[in-house]
């Protein structure tokens, strides 16, 4: 394993360990996504059709991710740890990638419960829709880890994070919903993969400027 990959793995493992101990993020995400799906189940009129339900699924997923992202940099904010990581001689993008990997793990864990619940309440997801969820998760965590780091440095972080993240998540919702309901879902998957590639590179390259003055 290269030194870069070892740094990313160590930083992501640390986040998983912190979550196992503090249990701050994942239970909140699980509770939120399940309760949202229950609310949607009763709120959606009978006969609304699958298309509306898929749209609501994406609303639930994006806001669940937002909940996780709001907590993502809390351990680094406490005790000024981000300064310690920035001073370390590792590549600073490894800090972002480690955080994105850990956030992805939490989001996938929440979806492992949410997607069967969605199938139970509304309609099953086909393989294309599942691939759309997977690709959107990558984009959410890549962009979300960057903007949540930006928000964490601000005093109005609770306000800044949704203002930065939600506009950037719109293409992911378009791609995800398209992959779930369109006849040619493959085109939307390609769109999501392109978004992931472009925004991952941008986030990777710009993280250093976010965490340094």
């Amino acid at each position: 394993m290269t030194a870069y990959a070892a740094d990313v793995a160590a930083l992501a493992r640390k986040d998983l360990r912190l979550e196992l101990r503090a249990r701050d993020t994942l239970p909140a995400m699980l509770l939120f996504v399940l309760s949202t799906l229950v609310v949607f189940h009763f709120a959606l009129p009978r006969g609304s059709g699958g298309a509306a339900a898929y749209g609501l699924l994406w609303v639930a997923l994006v806001f669940t991710a937002l909940l996780g992202l709001a907590r993502a940099w809390v351990p680094e904010r406490e005790g000024g740890v981000l300064d310690g990581l920035v001073l370390a001689p590792c590549d600073r993008s490894a800090i972002w990638l480690g955080k994105a990997c850990a956030t992805l793990a939490f989001l996938v864990a929440a979806e492992a419960v949410a997607l069967p619940a969605f199938a139970l309440f509304f309609a099953p997801l086909d393989l294309t829709a599942l691939a759309g969820v997977g690709l959107a998760d990558l984009g959410i965590c890549a962009v979300g880890s960057l903007v949540s780091a930006m928000a964490a440095a601000s005093r109005t972080r609770e306000l800044i994070l949704p203002l930065l993240f939600l506009p950037l998540a719109i293409p992911l919702v378009v791609g995800g919903v398209g992959a779930s309901i369109a006849a040619e879902g493959g085109r939307y998957l390609l769109f999501l993969a392109l978004y992931d590639g472009v925004f991952s590179i941008l986030s990777w390259a710009s993280f250093e400027y976010v965490v340094t003055e």
Partner: protein, 194 residues
Amino acid sequence: MITAREVEKRYGTTRALRAVSFELATGGCLLVTGPNGSGKTTLLRLLAGLATPTRGRLEVRAERSRLGYLGHEPLLYRDLTALENLELYGRLYRVPERRERAGMLLERFGLWEARNARVGSFSRGMTQRLALCRTLLHEPDLLVLDEPFSALDDAAASLLDGELATLAGRRTVVLSTHDPGRVLALATARLALA
């Protein structure tokens, strides 16, 4: 090792550090003193590379990997144990045999018994001792220490006195303190901020 020429720092309209100039040779020890709000912490953050000067020229001839910084905050994860924190930093700083090195420092600073306790359960003095372990973990060439004696009891402060005496002449040290008498004998230069 360090050259500062008219270095000034502003945050918006607030001047955090008035223009300062000094030089510090390798192996020297610079004692920074001054009242609250005079810019001691700002200067040390500039030296560590955590901030950039608004005006002036600051040259620190030490790689990031060879710098040890002790700030007002411990830079430690509260929900990791003392040993886990040091192991994580040891990995990021590429410290060979980091577990052994971490164990040795924990023992030296009287934290070996608490090595598996979470930092969040530590007293302020214990946290400061662990922060010192973190700062010294990778045997840095340049030590930037902001109020290193704060929260330390007499025994721990004496331990730090001894550590600084050992490092004197072998490492470059910049430290700020409200108790200059404690380290005056070690200092090769003094900078009084107003």
